[in-house]
């Protein structure tokens, strides 16, 4: 056992301090106000303070930190995207993740398991090769593998998928990982707090004060806060916030659902995704099978569960693993995914001066938490977006220069 746990046995009290202060009432003004205390908002606050020395920052969270999509996603981290811009961006995120437990001194259980995107059709195989080639070009370890290699990594998988969708091959991505999602939010919160950032929970933004095309302040249920820089990092709530500043974006909200099984002894070492069967799957460090599927088919601002989802998902689970008939689903839940037409995020500056957007994270936001925090902090500090996120700018839609990640993002979480 690591020695650092001994102090808990040897000390009378519990020798661990608060992760972050219990801030209740905001000050009259801040240099930067971040709306959204999820992983993205907290990471941006952390890097604003750490990389840019901007510490007079308030993070406003409507509920509790990490309670939105940070705490609802299935925690897969990977960079095997389709466009070079996407691959570069997510690869930078993976690189930060790899050292993040040490940096934040919090065990995020960042566990590199390898990630297989299964292909059941020739056209899926083509897309796998496309992704593999782009990944290789950028220096990311992805390659097309055959059924033998998949069977070796996951001998329990029925390679014929019960005869319904035989597996022809897969895109194998060795850096594919899972992490403890809550820990990411808490670690960034603690890091930001130690640098002086103030985090306010149960603090709802009611409006944004824009004067002459510039941000002047934020109205909250705890009063008015003057500021010239506001970052919106609210995922499924993005349209509500952009509406406050009169900004229209392509974002629509679709629920994304997931479920977990009862804990069983670990047997699934890899992360599996099947686009054709709409399944992604890993086994958590508690032993639960963590499963997700494709987006709900219509727009709704709700985290409600549907029976269709779990019926569809489990029937495809059985195609892949016929022996799971009597393994039980404990819980299903949902999150609100802020979807963009090209399945790439919307990041950077907006036509409103001082209003920065970190949105469009759809079903793929968790894996980008560190790099989105870092690049948005840089954008705010310099009032200029770094090249790494140029392709994700809001104006790409007006420019008809979409960043087509659909082939890599759908059911690919």
């Amino acid at each position: 056992m690591p020695l650092r746990l001994l102090k808990f046995a040897l000390t009378k009290g519990h020798p661990a301090p608060r992760f972050f202060r219990a801030c209740e009432t905001p000050k009259k003004s801040y240099d930067v106000v971040i709306i959204g205390g999820g992983g993205h908002g907290l990471a941006a606050a952390y890097y604003l303070a750490k990389d840019h020395g901007i510490t007079n920052v308030a993070v406003l969270e409507r509920g509790y930190i990490g309670g939105g999509n940070t705490g609802r996603n299935t925690t897969i981290v990977r960079s095997n995207y389709l466009t070079p811009e996407g691959v570069n961006f997510y690869d930078a995120s993976v690189k930060i993740y790899e050292g993040l437990s040490e940096e934040l001194d919090l065990n995020l259980f960042y566990s590199t398991r390898g990630h297989f995107t299964l292909a059941h059709t020739e056209s899926a195989m083509r897309t796998m090769r496309w992704r593999a080639e782009v990944n290789k070009h950028v220096g990311v370890d992805s390659r097309v593998v055959g059924p033998d290699e998949i069977a070796k990594a996951c001998p329990q998988l029925d390679m014929s998928c019960s005869g319904k969708a035989p597996i022809l091959g897969a895109l194998y991505h060795s850096p594919g990982s899972v992490a403890r999602h809550d820990g990411v939010a808490w670690g960034y919160a603690r890091g930001a707090d130690r640098h002086g950032v103030e985090i306010f929970q149960n603090t709802e933004v009611l409006g944004i004060d824009v004067q002459g095309g510039k941000v002047a302040g934020v109205k909250t249920n705890k009063g008015y806060i003057a500021t010239t820089k506001v970052l919106s990092a609210v995922a499924g709530f993005t349209p509500r916030v952009t509406e406050m500043v009169g900004l229209e974006t392509p974002i629509v909200i679709h629920p994304l659902q997931a479920c977990v099984s009862e804990p069983v002894k670990p047997w699934l070492d890899t992360i599996l995704v099947s686009g054709s069967l709409h399944v992604y799957l890993s086994q958590s460090s508690r032993g639960e099978l963590v499963m997700g599927s494709s987006l709900d088919p219509y727009e709704v601002h709700s985290t409600r569960s549907s029976l269709d989802f779990v019926e569809g998902l489990t029937s495809h689970m059985l195609d892949m693993f016929p022996f799971l008939s009597n393994i039980k689903i404990v819980r299903q839940w949902g999150g609100m995914a802020d979807m963009t037409p090209d399945f790439a995020p919307i990041m950077g500056k907006t036509p409103i001066e001082g209003f920065y957007l970190d949105a469009g994270w759809g079903t793929w936001g968790f894996k980008a938490t560190p790099i989105s925090g870092k690049t948005m902090a840089e954008t705010i500090a310099n009032d200029r977006a770094p090249d790494l996120i140029h392709s994700f700018r809001l104006s790409r839609f007006e420019d008809y220069e979409l960043t087509g990640e659909k082939g890599a993002a759908s059911v690919g979480h």
Partner: protein, 92 residues
Amino acid sequence: MKLLTCPVNGTRPLSEFIFGGEWRDAPDQNTCTDAQWAAYVHNRHGAPGDKKEWWYHSPSGTWFIAERNTLTDKVARTYLCGKQSVVQEESK
């Protein structure tokens, strides 16, 4: 699974329907600017609230308009495009 009322076929389970996205009024393509047109085709009114939406009843091939609240997921009424006067009030 929710239920939805097709103006032609009555109340059916949602699995029979396909969501067709938000109804958007197109600007005049001959007079609008490029930016206005780009906004029309790409942007959506994404904030929650009452929306006019396209829905398709798949078995019968019927497109219609539903007025739905995207926060509560309650449908106020459905009707065929251009026939607002012939309305199916959402039943209980």
